[in-house]
């Protein structure tokens, strides 16, 4: 034994608990831990007592890791979330009873042949101790311990979150439950906010069956901010319309009438509008009836606030678009895959629509002339053509920025004029297919060509109309070119 150290020389006699070994509490600051280590290690010469030095260092590292973990776990979870996620202030944690016996809980939860859990430092928060067990590979014991805690103290966010992730990591730990069940369990014990709600929102976005489940419907009764209720309802309705379960909408609206006062005008406007976004495209009679009631209700929301006005404007736009879309469906010239994109573009997030749009473009752009004719077929419904244009804008945002034009204006003008002066421009309609082919071949936007010839006196189509104006106004032509350019970006 060293003359100045309180520790015996035989490491076998040292406490196994790193806290006991260093003589620090589980609330010690890192500086205190380092100081304790340095004081004890000073008594041993690393050359003569390497094992003692290694044990002390291992104990220091373990305690520091522990403290770091503790710090992480005690940090309010809101600090770790994405900036866009708004959470209500963290609720006070359930007080942990001082007399809670973790080993008893583990014994109760463990099957008879289970391996005995590793001893935990005394006096530490059980949740943290159990989670540390999970981190050291004892996932099964940790899971059972957390379930036992839940049974004893009721659902708390910190326990349910850990159960969710443990079951995600090892689904075989519990064949009776899916990870999301723990989120719902935790939410039922509280409100629609916080990390549990954030994770559950993500589940709902990808799982229509979960959105339509009864336990999800039950969450509409929870205390919640209006925005959270609206969000929950909208995600359920999206799934319901796809499954044609109209009663889900009527049932939810009934529940929401009791939850959301009429004074929540923006929330109600968003609800009616969200229902219309989905219902408008359905051909089912029940959906059409429900849609007209929603539209009427939206009109009855008494508010002049800019947000509500904006919601109303958007719905009028939707009405025009849907009317145009319906009138085009019997048209033979309007390609069904293009028409199928329109409702999706309105009611689904773009990342979901993008693969379908690209698949359509891959087929349509094989024969640019036919694609132009297809766009001509929908040109009579400007709202539909404009929506296709919006889809292309969204596509552009997902692509690398276009390379800078390497050619000068005079290079482009030379190309354009050579084409125009040798092409048959007697009639605009046949000419524009040649123009599209030229634009695609030379990678020159029709709008660019229009600008280049705007002041040229030789390109008047009639006394009133210059070719540049005809080209610039030719939305089908411009969109056909843009679609091609984006596809081949």
């Amino acid at each position: 034994m060293s003359g100045t150290s309180p520790l015996p020389a035989d490491v076998g006699q040292w406490p196994s608990d790193p806290y006991d070994l260093l003589g620090v509490s589980n609330r010690a600051a890192p500086d205190e831990v380092n100081a304790a280590h340095d004081r004890l290690a000073a008594a041993f010469d690393p050359a003569r007592a390497p094992e003692q030095c290694r044990r002390l260092k291992a104990a220091r590292d373990a305690v520091l890791r522990d403290l770091e973990l503790l710090l992480l776990l005690e940090t309010p979870l809101t600090l770790q979330l994405q900036p866009a996620v708004e959470l209500s202030p963290p609720r006070p944690e359930s007080p942990q009873p001082d007399d809670f016996d973790l080993s008893e809980a583990l014994r109760a939860a463990a099957p008879p042949d289970a391996i005995a859990p590793a001893p935990l430092p005394l006096g530490r928060t059980p949740v943290i101790g159990l989670w540390q067990m999970a981190l050291t590979g004892q996932e099964s014991e940790a899971y059972r311990g957390l379930v036992a805690l839940l049974d004893r103290d009721g659902a708390t966010a910190e326990v349910c979150l850990r159960l969710y992730w443990l079951l995600t990591a090892r689904p075989e730990l519990d064949r009776e439950h899916a990870p999301r069940d723990w989120l719902v369990h935790g939410l039922r014990g509280g409100e629609l906010s916080g990390p549990l709600w954030e994770l559950y929102r993500r589940v709902l976005a990808d799982d229509a069956d979960e959105a339509l489940s009864r336990h999800c419907a039950g969450l509409l009764d929870l205390p919640a901010e209006p925005d959270a209720l609206v969000e929950l309802a909208l995600v359920r309705w999206q799934a319901a319309v796809r499954a044609q379960q109209w009663d889900v909408l009527t049932g939810d609206l009934q529940a929401l009438r009791e939850r959301l006062p009429a004074s929540e005008r923006l929330a109600w406007a968003r609800l009616w509008s969200g229902a219309l976004d989905q219902l408008t495209w359905s051909d089912a009679k029940a959906a059409r009836n429900l849609a007209s009631r929603c539209f009427q209700s939206l009109g009855e929301v008494l508010s002049d606030s800019p947000q509500v006005t904006e919601v109303r404007k958007r719905q009028h736009l939707l009405r025009d678009l849907a009317a145009g879309w319906r009138s085009l469906r019997p048209e033979l010239e309007a390609p069904p895959p293009l028409l199928a994109l329109i409702p999706l573009s309105w009611s689904r997030p773009f990342p979901e629509v993008r693969p379908k749009l690209l698949a359509f473009l891959a087929e349509a752009l094989r024969v640019p002339r036919s694609f132009l004719m297809a766009l001509d077929a929908i040109q009579a419904r400007p709202a539909v053509l404009a929506q296709f244009g919006r889809l292309l804008e969204l596509l552009q945002e997902t692509l690398p920025p276009p390379p800078l034009e390497a050619r000068s204006s005079s290079d482009l003008a030379e190309l354009a004029l050579a084409f125009l002066d040798t092409a048959d421009r007697s009639y605009y309609r046949p000419f524009r297919t040649l123009l599209l082919e030229f634009c695609l071949r030379e990678a020159m936007a029709p709008e660019t060509l229009a600008e280049l010839i705007a002041d040229n006196p030789y390109y008047w189509l009639s006394a009133e109309r210059h070719l540049s104006a005809a080209v610039a106004d030719d939305e089908s032509l411009c969109l056909a070119y843009r679609a091609h350019r984006l596809f081949w970006a």
Partner: protein, 337 residues
């Protein structure tokens, strides 16, 4: 519909910083450690990566759309690299790499299309000695360089190449013909360039004539000078309209007779137009030009006549609506002298 995306496992492993070969135990340990660091609410994409890695092999969740987008961008870069060294890569290696890329890019129509566009060049081994003289090899190099570019870059580069060849365009015409003869498969990779070289002088001559004609006339096109539309739709009952129509028919008949005489003079007794002249030494440009102009004039008069007929005889509301559809600005005024 796009084909199935490749296995998302490697992407998910990259996203969370694990090796693609990580064991289930390593994945579990990594997940629990990292979600703790992320405060139990990791960023959505990372969460989806963990879910993909943790799911049983037979029920892995699909690619998150945002991840698919990132994968598409990554593969686009790989295709660009592949294209950049396309002809420098030995044929066998090139073909194998193309097949690998085609397999993993099948989910993305634009990437699949870009690879499909490269397919015609897969088997071509560009060895200068096989192509001919250095000049032909130089043109072949231009063709190969353009072929591997995406359409927008190709268009810009093609114009630059054409500009560089203009100083000796007659010589390059000959070279283009040689390239077509010695390596038609290579020439077919960039037909636009070769067509532009071969047609350059003729196009320039046509343009020069047209622009010279404009200068000599010293006038602006009729539509610019006119106060009223150039060709207003004549009223059905108008005597002048009927007279114009009759005049059009007379012109068609007279010019038709003249053309027949001309064609007969060239030795053809068939009633169908003669096949296009391709025998350059026997070709008489002046005669050809005269004939071509006459044919154009006939076509113009026939079009005018058809238009008059459409407007006067078959006029009904639907036709009228069709004629006035947005975007159809109607016929252009007569061009040039």
């Amino acid at each position: 519909m796009p084909n199935a995306a490749p296995d998302p496992g490697p992407w998910a492993a990259r996203e969370v910083g694990l090796s693609p070969d990580a064991t289930r135990a390593e994945i579990r340990a990594g997940l629990l450690r990292e979600v703790t660091r992320d405060g139990f609410v990791p960023p959505p994409l990372r969460q989806q990566a963990w879910e993909i890695l943790s799911a049983p092999r037979d029920s892995a969740p699909p690619w998150p759309p945002a991840a698919l987008l990132a994968e598409e961008a990554r593969l686009r870069g790989e295709i660009d690299d592949f294209a950049a060294s396309f002809f420098a890569t030995p044929v066998e290696v090139r073909r194998r790499r193309w097949q690998e890329l085609s397999a993993v890019c099948a989910f993305s129509p634009p990437l699949a299309a870009r690879l499909a566009a490269l397919e015609p060049g897969l088997g071509l081994d560009l060895r200068p000695g096989d192509i001919g003289n250095p000049r032909t090899a130089q043109l072949a190099s231009h063709v190969a360089g353009l072929f591997v570019l995406a359409p927008a870059a190709r268009a810009a580069q093609r114009q630059a190449v054409l500009r560089s060849l203009q100083t000796d365009i007659a010589g390059w015409e000959e070279t283009a013909r040689q390239l077509l003869a010695v390596s038609p498969a290579l020439a077919a990779l960039e037909p636009t360039l070769l067509a532009s070289i071969l047609g350059f002088r003729e196009q320039q001559q046509r343009l020069a004539r047209l622009r010279e004609g404009r200068q000599h006339s010293g006038r602006l096109p009729p539509a610019r000078r006119a106060v009223a539309p150039v060709r207003p739709a004549p009223a059905p009952s108008s005597p002048s309209a009927g007279g114009g129509r009759a005049l059009g028919w007379v012109a068609v008949v007279v010019i038709g007779i003249v053309v027949r005489v001309c064609i007969g003079g060239l030795g053809s007794r068939s009633s169908s137009p003669p096949p296009p002249q391709i025998d350059i030494p026997k070709f008489d440009p002046e005669e050809h030009e005269r004939t071509r102009k006459m044919i154009e004039e006939i076509e113009r008069l026939q079009r005018m006549n058809r238009e008059n007929e459409e407007q006067n005889k078959k006029r009904n509301p639907r036709d009228e609506q069709e004629r006035l559809r947005p975007g159809d600005a109607g016929p252009a005024p007569r061009r040039g002298p």
